[in-house]
């Protein structure tokens, strides 16, 4: 029974539950708790699926009459469990390596093409009329990059808002949050995943960085900077999803976006999702398995 339940929980957490969660807006009201919520779902899915494989595999060989098909099936299912984890760590490794390489290249280019600003050591200014503002996060040597076009499009306080926003990304290591979601996204096979956790977590870190910026310079400059930069045309003509900008404006419209109820709920669900399957299903089963093994 346990393996089936664990498997079902794992599959539910991988696909239908996130799809449902993506439709309701309240996790976006509480970005920090929302990130924890999404993380716990994905992690619980990995744990439950590999747990299901492991317990099925063990169950097949704890029977007294060991037949060849039981052993063969045991090996196959054990293999699936191992594969889930192997895939997870492989995804973690490749995401980390690719991200490091791309950031290193960006840093080299930015350092050679951008001018350093005497006031802020991490700041690089590009002689470019296209409004651009982004950060290259990283251990020890982050960069905040803005173009001349950004500076001329914004007032002094709006510019300060942009820098404060980017500094918050760098300081609070939002890149690690996004990397973790990218790893989980890649770890799940294509037919077993939704884009929702990755997409929503990208929005949530923006909301958190906006919170930091409005604390520093006030609501209106952050909102004005967002409208100015989001409204700027890009040379490639490509359009991003407006979801992030809309969610950010909605949060800026709320004078006090803190929401204790929603965040407590999100934290509580995260804890339940992570702990409950382990305690309710896995522990009794593990005790039973231990029992059987020691009786031999």
């Amino acid at each position: 029974m346990t393996p089936v339940l664990l498997g079902l929980i794992g599959l539910a957490l991988a696909l239908p539950v996130p799809a449902l969660l993506a439709r309701i807006a309240w996790p976006l009201l509480v970005p920090r708790a929302g990130i924890v919520l999404w993380q716990s779902f994905a992690l619980a899915a990995v744990l439950a699926i590999s747990g299901a494989a492991l317990s099925t595999a063990l169950w097949l060989v704890t029977d007294d009459r060991l037949t060849w098909w039981r052993i063969a099936l045991h090996l196959v299912i054990l293999g699936i469990g191992v594969l889930v984890w192997a895939r997870f760590w492989w995804a973690a490794w490749t995401v980390w390596r690719e991200t490091q390489a791309r950031r290193r290249r960006q840093r080299h280019l930015v350092d050679l093409l951008g001018e350093a600003d005497g006031m802020a050591p991490a700041l690089r200014i590009l002689q470019e009329q296209t409004p651009i503002a982004y950060c290259v996060p990283g251990m020890g040597s982050p960069r905040i990059v803005v173009s001349q076009g950004t500076i001329s499009a914004l007032s002094a306080t709006e510019y300060a808002a942009v820098l404060e926003h980017e500094r918050a990304h760098v300081r609070r290591r939002h890149d690690l949050v996004l990397e973790a979601f990218t790893v989980l996204h890649r770890a799940f096979p294509r037919f077993l995943r939704t884009d929702a956790p990755l997409v929503q977590s990208k929005i949530m870190v923006e909301l958190l960085a906006d919170d930091a910026a409005r604390k520093a310079v006030g609501d209106a400059p952050v909102a004005r900077a967002l409208v100015t930069l989001a409204g700027a045309p890009t040379p490639a003509g490509a359009l991003g999803s407006g979801g992030a900008a809309r969610a950010r404006m909605a949060r800026l419209q709320d004078p006090d976006p803190r929401n204790a109820l929603a965040s407590t709920t999100a934290y509580a669900i995260s804890a339940i999702v992570l702990v409950a399957p382990t305690v309710l299903l896995a522990v009794p089963w593990m005790l039973h398995a231990l029992d059987t093994l020691t009786q031999r």
């Binding site: 350092d111 050679l112 590009l126 980017e166 004005r224 700027a232 359009l239 991003g240």
Partner: protein, 122 residues
């Protein structure tokens, strides 16, 4: 004495402005900084080589250095990465302030802004 990063930038600019590969001595002469040692420039060129920004070729007994990619190409690579709108499985190498939105979206954002402006000016 300029900082190492500043020096790398100056050396790179010298190479970008040159019409042909330069020797260490030629780079040093173009830099117009008397305090600068020959070995310093060589170190900087080595570092730029390690970053795959500079390539060197043997010319008799000396090495000549050239940019690995032209200034325009470097700029367009940087901007391409910076403006890349691809989502999904892309690793989060860069975190943007804002992405461009379509005109209808921009209109909605401006309306929301008006509301914030009127609230905060009260």
């Amino acid at each position: 004495m300029p900082r190492l990063g500043e020096l790398e930038r100056s050396v790179m600019n010298v190479l970008w402005d040159a019409s042909e590969p330069l020797t260490v001595r030629e780079v040093l002469d173009s830099l117009d900084d008397r305090a600068l040692a020959y070995t310093t420039v060589m170190t900087v060129l080595d570092r730029l080589g390690a970053k795959e920004m500079v390539v060197r070729e043997r010319d008799g007994r000396a090495f000549r250095y050239a940019p690995a990619l032209a200034r325009d190409a470097a700029t367009s690579e940087l901007l391409h990465a910076a403006l890349d709108q691809a989502g999904g499985d892309r690793t989060a190498a860069l975190v943007h302030f804002a992405r461009s939105v379509d005109p209808a979206e921009a209109q909605a954002l401006r309306a929301a802004l008006d509301e914030i402006e009127s609230r905060t000016s009260e």
